[in-house]
């Protein structure tokens, strides 16, 4: 009996204690920004620089400016390990502290959170990842994926390839290989690839890489050697990227015909292959390097004072700056929400409005101390939650990434109708999908 009593007592105690754990961090005069990150597991190679960049920029705003318009940000990381299950647990545990925004940093987790965002009134910012169709603001009022979707990315790559081949007409008869992470992320561009293949008359070869086999791609690359595609496109993440670059180098695939999406362009993705990786191309939408004043501020206020987890020589790497870009979007959305509502301490609903009318002009980038860091964000509105902004192509020179093209605009006219069809399909498949009731601050 006594043991039972203890057991019951323990259950009661745990129910009483756990809520106390959870609600301890939310104060009235701060804005809570949870960052889902992964510094452990097979995706840590990509996850660590992103997580560092994201938290460093927001913490730098706290240190330098005392937050945003005087309101301190409470930045908290939650470790997901790129695991959907843990991501959902992170979402649930952060939800209780009234977050103004969610950054899942995984397409798998994003897919889970899309239906919940409208119910819990917390906007989801899936920056250039997640569900491409969520760019359609009428169907997904709570989900944002600027600056460009995967489909935009694919269209830019095809455009680049066509450019190098001498026009879209020259694509006919060519073979383009597509090596991808065999999960939600890598499969996302497949429908568009099929459509492009039909339209421009090139052949596609698919090389799926199962998540469990990311570090063993010899089979796929053996097939690449056999098939001899003219170009290779990669949608990789985590340990898959350096492995693919190394394997491509091993079979002597011409590196300047091997193009990755923006998530395949970490410094540590290309570096392990050494000189053989020279010429490897990836898309990018953020500037590389630590020469930007805002990045210098991070070094001054955080890194040199030991307040950051970042190693000093890693500041300014591509994925680190990608994390900064993500945090700039968060910070600007919060600032915009403050402007629209006139409130200092904004809520998730306000930040949704802030995101929906988010604008970062060239001048604003300069004000932020990030001149030329990203293409101006001008096209996000109530119907278009993505904006289909431009990206550029960068090339690995053996030591660092070098920008080799100007901003490439996506084939928006081709992508947009497909996105709308995909969004309609998503809504149709999810019977009872809520109709948009949110008002619009900036008509499109």
């Amino acid at each position: 009996m006594r043991m039972k009593g203890l057991l019951v007592g323990a259950v009661l105690a745990s129910t009483a204690v756990i809520p106390a754990f959870v609600s301890s961090a939310s104060a009235q005069d701060t804005i809570y920004v949870p960052l889902f990150s992964y510094r452990t597991g097979p995706f840590a190679g990509s996850g660590i620089p992103i997580a560092n960049g994201m938290s460093d920029y927001l913490n730098m705003l706290n240190e330098r400016d005392g937050g945003i318009n005087g309101v301190k940000l409470v930045v908290e990381e939650c470790e997901t390990g790129y695991n959907t299950e843990k991501g959902v647990a992170c979402y649930e545990s952060t939800k209780a502290k009234n977050p103004v925004i969610t950054n899942p940093y995984s397409t798998g987790i994003t897919l889970q959170l899309i239906p919940r965002a409208s119910v819990d009134k917390i906007p989801v910012l899936s920056m250039a990842y997640g569900l491409s169709a969520s760019a359609v603001g009428q169907s997904f009022p709570w989900v944002f994926n600027p600056p460009a979707t995967y489909w935009d990315g694919l269209s830019m790559i095809i455009k680049y390839i066509a450019d190098k081949e001498g026009g879209f007409a020259k694509l006919k008869g060519k073979t383009i290989g597509y090596i991808f992470f065999d999960g939600g992320y890598g499969r996302e561009p497949l429908p568009l690839l099929e459509i492009f293949a039909k339209k421009y008359g090139f052949e596609t070869k698919l090389y799926p890489v199962p998540p469990a086999e990311m570090q063993n791609q010899s089979g796929q690359w053996l097939n690449v050697r056999k098939d001899k595609p003219d170009w290779m496109i990669m949608w990789g993440w985590g340990a898959m990227n350096p492995t693919a670059v190394k394997e491509a180098a091993r079979i002597k695939f011409p590196m300047d015909k091997f193009v990755g999406i923006w998530w395949s362009g970490g410094d540590d993705d290309a570096r392990p292959a050494g000189d053989d990786a020279k010429g490897y191309l990836t898309l990018n939408f953020n500037g590389v390097g630590s020469q930007y004043p805002a990045v210098q501020d991070i070094i001054k206020h955080l890194v040199s004072k030991g307040k950051s987890q970042t190693q000093p020589d890693k500041v300014g790497e591509n994925l680190y700056n990608r994390g900064i870009y993500n945090s700039v979007l968060i910070a600007e959305a919060i600032r915009n929400a403050q402007k629209i509502t006139g409130k200092k301490v904004v809520t998730g609903e306000d930040v949704r409005r802030g995101l929906e009318s988010l604008t970062i002009t060239q001048a604003r980038w300069k004000e932020l101390g990030l001149e030329g860091f990203g293409a101006p964000i001008t096209n996000v509105n109530c119907t278009d939650h993505n904006g289909h902004h431009a990206a550029y192509m960068q090339q690995w020179d053996g030591k660092k990434w070098v920008k080799i093209t100007d901003w490439i605009a996506p084939l928006k006219d081709e992508v947009r109708p497909l996105l709308e069809a995909a969004a309609a399909d998503y809504v149709a498949k999810n019977a009872g999908w809520p109709k948009r009731t949110e008002s619009c601050d900036r008509p499109s």
């Binding site: 043991m3 756990i18 470790e79 959907t84 959902v88 649930e92 545990s93 119910v119 999960g183 999810n430």
Partner: protein, 358 residues
């Protein structure tokens, strides 16, 4: 003094065969159920219900499934994740093909699909045992994972290769989909888990359970006593997969909300297996204790350290919980190979003779 059956006379066969023959046990279980059905939903926050209790109950059910196979019948299986996936995907297909049938019917029915698949992969168990059977079930895990990734029909040709849970109601209350409150989900999960645990407890102490245990302890002797090995082993696979399948369906429909194939990977199988080993092989209580320990520890460790005033990085907490769980597994394997359930049994025995131990 308090926990003693002295003076409780059984005067009927019925009383002798009761699930809980000792009055104190009955009171105890009644209190636990009452707490689970009233106190926890009343006092628990949404986070506690949704992120802790619901997955804990679901994983406990999966652990019961594996325990029936591994603990009671002695057949080691590494295919639990795959069988859970079969349940989840079957439930998704059935629910989207026949949307008019109630979702909870499909959650339970999907267990039968999983059971059928379990029987097929259980066939080799007649010939091979131990590690070899483990490898055969490992093959089933990989085969099923492959199916989930490669067969687009299973996900209704979803571009993202994920299954998404439709909105469904029970008595007008959302139980699946994003509008479902943690409370509604919790009650559904709890009801299913309690019912199926009750069923399992009757199964394992009856004729079938005794057959399983006879096969586990010595299959040749069992065969000589007239137990048909094939039927018994396949039944164990079927029942085990049924439980795992229902757990998998609940995992997606009542917890995740949508899932990719990676949710049912080999890691899931290992997690459930370690729950069974830590909790105690051949014990239903052990399944719950094991699930509680393995699942809740990583969640409760960071806030616990936080409340001690140690603030640590999220990643460090993750590393720490890996280490603690690893150490615990080693500790239990050395000190108490029968798991937490055995510890509870020892405690009960001690209580019986307290305060005059002999």
């Amino acid at each position: 003094m308090f926990y003693r059956e002295a003076g409780q006379f059984k005067t009927t066969y019925r009383a002798d065969m009761a699930t809980f023959p000792i009055t104190q046990d009955r009171i105890g279980i009644a209190i636990i159920l009452m707490v689970a059905f009233t106190v926890i939903p009343y006092f628990g926050s949404n986070f506690f219900l949704h992120a802790i209790m619901i997955p804990f109950l679901i994983f406990a059910l999966a652990a019961i499934g594996l325990n029936i196979l591994t603990g009671y019948t002695g057949l080691l299986s590494l295919g639990t994740g795959g069988f859970m996936g079969v349940g989840a995907y079957a439930c998704y297909k059935l629910a989207t093909i026949f949307p008019e049938v109630h979702i909870l019917i499909w959650v339970v029915t999907s267990g039968f699909v999983s059971a059928a698949v379990g029987i097929v992969f259980g066939l080799p168990s007649l010939r091979i045992k131990g590690f070899y059977l483990a490898v055969a079930t490992l093959a089933s895990q990989f085969f099923l994972s492959w199916c989930f990734i490669r067969i687009p029909w299973l996900v209704n040709y979803n571009v993202s290769n994920a299954i998404e849970v439709p909105r469904r109601t029970l008595f007008g209350v959302h139980v699946t989909g994003p509008e479902a409150t943690p409370h509604a989900r919790y009650f559904v999960v709890l009801a299913i888990v309690v019912a199926m645990t009750w069923l399992a407890s009757n199964l394992v102490r009856g004729r079938i359970g005794r057959m399983w245990m006879a096969v586990r302890d010595m299959d040749i002797a069992a065969e000589l006593m007239g137990i048909k090995l094939l039927n018994t082993k396949l039944l164990a696979f079927a029942v085990s997969s049924f439980y795992c399948g229902v757990a998998g369906a609940m995992l997606v429909f009542l917890y995740y909300g949508s899932a990719e194939a990676t949710a049912f990977s080999i890691n899931q199988s290992f997690a459930i297996l370690s729950m069974v080993i830590i909790g105690g092989l051949g014990s239903l209580l052990g399944s719950f204790l094991g699930a509680a320990l393995i699942f809740m520890l990583p969640l409760l460790l960071p806030p616990f350290l936080g409340s001690l005033g140690l603030s640590i990085q999220a990643a460090t907490a993750e590393h720490l919980s890996f280490m603690v769980i690893g150490a615990l597994i080693v500790f239990f394997l050395i000190v108490e190979p029968h798991g937490l359930a055995r510890l509870w049994q020892i405690a009960k025995q001690k209580l019986r003779v307290w305060p005059y131990p002999y």
